[in-house]
C-alpha cells in the first residue's frame, strides 16, 4: 500500500516537473532571455594582495594609517563608520594622546543634549565615541546626495563579494561609458547624475569619482599618493574596520591548528594502541 501510494506521488511530482521542464525549454527556445549589459560588462576585481591576507597575514599599520587619512579627508564627508570607535584607532598604532587629538579635532561633532536647556546640540568627540555620521538621518543623507544613500563603510569589506579588492577596483574603475556598450544596448546610457563604473553591480554608480588626482591626500610618511596607492590604502583601512580582530584570529588559529594536529597524532596513537589486538 505504501509503495503504491509512493509510486503515485512520485509519478505526480515527476510529471509536474516534466511539464515544467517542457515549459522552460520551450520558453528558452521561443523567447530566449536577452543578454544584459550588466552580465556582459560587469567586471570582477583583481587581487590587490594585502599584507593581511593568508594564514600569517598581519596588517601593515603604516598603510592602515594612510588609509585612515584617506577616509578622513575624502570618504568621511559622506560615508559614516558607525560601528568603529575612535578608541579603536589605537590598533593602528596611534598613541592614546593621538587618538584623543583625532577625536577632538574630528570635523563632525557628536550629537548631544545641552545640559542646561535640554536642547539637541553637538559636542566634541571623545575616544569612547563611535565615528559620528556626516548626516543626521537617512532622509538628510539622501537629500544631500541626489537621492542616493552613501552606505556605512564599517563593514564594506565584508558586505560585498571579495570586498577588499572590490573597494580598490571600484575606486579605480571610473571611466567613460564604452561606445560598444551603447551600440549593443541602446537605452543603457548612464543617466545624468550617475557615473559609469563597470565594477559596480549595475554599472552606474551614484558616487562621483572620489579620488580625482595624484597627491589628493598628502601622505606624511613620504609614500607617493598616487590614485592607485590611495585606493589600496583605503581598501586596507576598510578591511581593518570590517575585521579588526583579524590578527588575533590568525594567531589563535595557528595555535589551534598546531594543537589539534598534535592531538590528532596522539589520538591516532591511542586508537592504534587500543585496537592493536582486534582485527577490524
Amino acid at each position: 500500500m505504501v509503495r503504491l501510494i509512493s509510486l503515485l506521488v512520485g509519478a505526480a511530482f515527476v510529471g509536474v516537473l516534466a511539464i515544467a521542464l517542457f515549459g522552460t525549454v520551450a520558453t528558452a527556445i521561443s523567447d530566449p532571455a536577452p543578454e544584459t549589459a550588466e552580465a556582459k560588462y560587469h567586471q570582477h576585481p583583481e587581487n590587490i594582495g594585502l599584507a593581511s591576507n593568508g594564514f600569517f597575514g598581519r596588517f601593515d599599520r603604516r598603510q592602515l594609517q594612510r588609509g585612515f587619512q584617506v577616509y578622513k579627508e575624502v570618504c568621511s564627508a559622506c560615508h559614516s563608520l558607525k560601528y568603529v570607535a575612535f578608541r579603536d584607532l589605537a590598533d593602528l598604532g596611534y598613541s592614546e594622546g593621538e587618538v584623543k587629538a583625532i577625536a577632538t579635532q574630528w570635523a563632525i561633532e557628536q550629537p548631544s543634549v545641552n545640559p542646561e536647556t535640554g536642547e539637541a546640540t553637538t559636542r566634541k568627540n571623545i575616544p569612547s565615541d563611535r565615528f559620528p555620521s556626516p548626516f543626521a538621518n537617512e532622509v538628510a543623507a539622501r537629500a544631500a546626495n541626489n537621492n542616493a544613500l552613501p552606505p556605512d563603510l564599517s563593514l564594506m569589506a565584508k558586505a560585498r563579494h571579495d570586498g577588499t579588492n572590490y573597494i580598490h577596483a571600484l575606486l579605480m574603475g571610473y571611466r567613460a561609458q564604452p561606445a560598444a556598450l551603447l551600440k549593443e544596448f541602446p537605452g543603457t546610457k548612464t543617466p545624468t547624475g550617475l557615473h559609469y563604473n563597470p565594477w559596480f553591480a549595475n554599472l552606474n554608480i551614484a558616487m562621483p569619482p572620489p579620488l580625482t588626482s595624484d597627491g589628493q591626500v598628502p601622505y606624511a610618511d613620504g609614500t607617493r599618493a598616487t590614485k592607485d596607492q590611495m585606493a589600496r590604502d583605503v581598501a586596507a583601512f576598510l578591511t581593518w574596520t570590517a575585521e579588526p580582530k583579524l590578527e588575533r584570529r590568525h594567531a589563535a588559529g595557528l595555535a589551534s591548528v598546531v594543537f589539534l594536529l598534535i592531538f590528532c597524532f596522539l589520538a591516532w596513537g591511542a586508537y592504534q594502541n587500543v585496537w592493536r589486538d582486534v582485527k577490524h
Binding site: G10, A252, L260, Y271
Partner: protein, 427 residues
C-alpha cells in the same frame, strides 16, 4: 536491552557504588556510551559522524548560550549588538564565528550521517524508530538553523525570513493568515525577531531530548555495521569504550581541525556578504540564497515553474516539504532484506547517482535562474523524487543481491586475508 554478553557495571570506588545505588546515572552512561554497549567490531569511519553530530550540538549550545548573554533581540539594535560582539566583547569574534560556522559543521556532519544511514541501510528493520527520530532531529535542526540565521538581522536574515514564511502563504485559503501569525505582522519585524530568538534558544534543547530517544532506540537492536549483517555472537562485537571512544577521538580531532580552519582562516566562506548589511525592508538583495545546507531543497522549490491543477508555488512548497517528509516512509519503501549497499549492486549505482543529484541540486539552488540552470534543477529534482518514490521500491523488488558474509567476524577475517578458513567460505 542489548546483547546478553554486554558487560555489567561494577563500580569499584565506594563513592561510585554509593551513587549508583541512589541514582544509577553512572550505570546509564556506562551502558549507553561505555564498556556496557557492545558494538560491531567492523565499523568504519562513517560511524564517527553520530558522535560528531552530538559534539557539534554541544558546541552550538555552549557558544549559543554565551552569545545570548550579549545579543539583543530587538530589530532596532540586533545588527549592532552582533557587531559589538564582534568588536568589543572579550573573545566575542571567536564565539560568534564558532557559532555561525558551527551550524555549518553540524549540518555537514549530519548530512554525512544521513548518507551513511542510506548507504548501509541503517533505516531498515529493526532500526526504523532510530531513523524516524533521526528525521525528526533533522527537521528540528533545519528550523533552528533557519531561525538562528534571522537573528543577526542582516539583509539575508530579513529576506530569508520573508521568503521562508512566504512558503506558508501558498496554502490555499488560510495561508496568508498563517504567514501573518508566524511573523506577528505583515513583514518580518521586531515581533518576528523576538519569537525566533525565543524558539532558537528552545529548540536545541528539544533536539538534545530527541537525541536521547534516538540513542535509546539505537541501543535496543544495537548499531548497524558496514556489512549490514546482524551480530551473531560475542566475537562480532567490542565494547564501545575504549574501542570506539578511541576511534571517535580521532574523528573528533579531524572534525575540530576542519572547524578551526573555518573559524580562524575563512570564517565568512560559507556566509553571504549581504548579511553584513543591516536589514532594509525597502530593498531586496539582488540574489537571495539560503545558507548552503538548504540549497538542494531551495532548488526543488524553484524547479516547479508550471501550474498544473495546483498553482506552481503550491507545487514547489509541497515538493520541498515532501522531499524531506518522504524520508519518514523510507523504511517501508525499501523492502530489500539486504541492508548494506555494498551487497546491492543495482541500488548502489542509483544511490551514488542520488548523491551526485543532490550536489547538482545544491549547485542549482545557489545559481542564477538562467534557463540552463532551471533545466538542470528540474531534471535533478525529478530524479530525487523518482529515486525515493519509484526506483527504490522497484529495485528492492527486482534486484539480486550479492552473497552476504556469514557473520561480521567472517567478513573482517576475509578482509585481513591470510590464514582464515572463513575467507574461503565466502569467496
Amino acid at each position: 536491552m542489548s546483547f546478553p554478553w554486554a558487560k555489567h557495571y561494577e563500580p569499584k570506588q565506594p563513592l561510585m557504588r554509593w551513587l549508583d545505588e541512589k541514582l544509577p546515572l553512572p550505570r546509564l552512561v556506562y551502558n549507553a556510551v561505555g564498556a556496557g554497549y557492545p558494538v560491531p567490531r567492523n565499523l568504519n569511519y562513517f560511524w564517527n559522524f553520530g558522535v560528531l553530530a552530538g559534539a557539534a550540538l554541544a558546541i552550538q549550545i555552549v557558544t549559543g548560550i554565551v552569545l545570548a548573554m550579549h545579543f539583543a533581540a530587538n530589530a532596532g539594535v540586533a545588527f549592532g549588538s552582533v557587531e559589538s560582539i564582534m568588536r568589543d566583547v572579550n573573545a566575542g569574534w571567536f564565539l560568534r564565528y564558532a557559532h555561525a560556522n558551527g551550524a555549518s559543521m553540524f549540518l555537514l556532519v549530519v548530512y554525512i550521517h544521513i548518507g551513511r544511514g542510506l548507504y548501509y541501510g541503517s533505516y531498515k528493520a529493526p532500526r526504523e524508530m532510530v531513523w524516524l527520530l533521526g528525521v525528526v532531529i533533522f527537521l528540528l535542526m533545519m528550523a533552528t538553523a533557519f531561525m538562528g540565521y534571522v537573528l543577526p538581522w542582516g539583509q539575508m536574515s530579513f529576506w530569508g525570513a520573508q521568503v521562508i514564511t512566504g512558503f506558508f502563504s501558498a496554502i490555499p485559503l488560510v495561508g496568508e493568515s498563517i504567514r501573518v501569525w508566524l511573523l506577528g505582522g505583515f513583514a518580518p519585524d521586531n515581533a518576528t525577531l523576538n519569537r525566533f530568538f525565543s524558539l532558537h534558544y528552545l529548540l536545541p534543547f528539544v533536539i538534545a531530548g530527541v537525541i536521547v530517544l534516538h540513542i535509546w532506540a539505537l541501543h535496543i537492536p544495537g548499531s548497524n555495521n558496514p556489512t549490514g549483517v546482524d551480530v551473531k555472537g560475542e566475537q562480532d562485537t567490542v565494547p564501545f569504550h575504549p574501542y570506539y571512544t578511541a576511534k571517535d577521538a580521532v574523528g573528533l580531532g579531524v572534525f575540530l581541525l576542519v572547524f578551526a580552519l573555518l573559524i580562524f582562516f575563512s570564517p565568512n566562506l560559507l556566509g553571504h556578504p549581504d548579511n553584513y548589511i543591516e536589514a532594509n525592508p525597502l530593498s531586496t538583495p539582488a540574489h537571495i540564497v539560503p545558507e548552503w545546507y538548504f540549497l538542494p531543497f531551495y532548488a526543488i522549490l524553484k524547479s516547479f515553474t508550471a501550474d498544473f491543477i495546483l498553482p506552481a508555488k503550491l507545487w514547489g512548497v509541497l515538493a520541498m516539504f515532501g522531499s524531506i517528509l518522504l524520508l519518514f516512509f523510507l523504511p517501508w519503501l525499501d523492502s530489500s532484506p539486504v541492508r548494506s549497499a555494498n551487497y546491492r549492486p543495482t541500488y548502489r549505482i542509483f544511490l551514488i547517482v542520488l548523491l551526485l543529484d543532490v550536489l547538482v541540486l545544491g549547485y542549482v539552488g545557489g545559481a542564477e535562474p538562467i534557463a540552463r540552470n532551471v533545466v538542470l534543477g528540474q531534471i535533478a529534482a525529478a530524479y530525487y523524487f523518482a529515486h525515493f518514490l519509484i526506483i527504490l521500491p522497484l529495485v528492492a523488488a527486482s534486484e539480486r543481491p550479492r552473497p552476504l558474509p556469514g557473520s561480521i567476524t567472517e567478513a573482517v577475517l576475509a578482509k585481513h586475508g591470510g590464514t582464515s578458513p572463513a575467507k574461503t567460505a565466502i569467496a
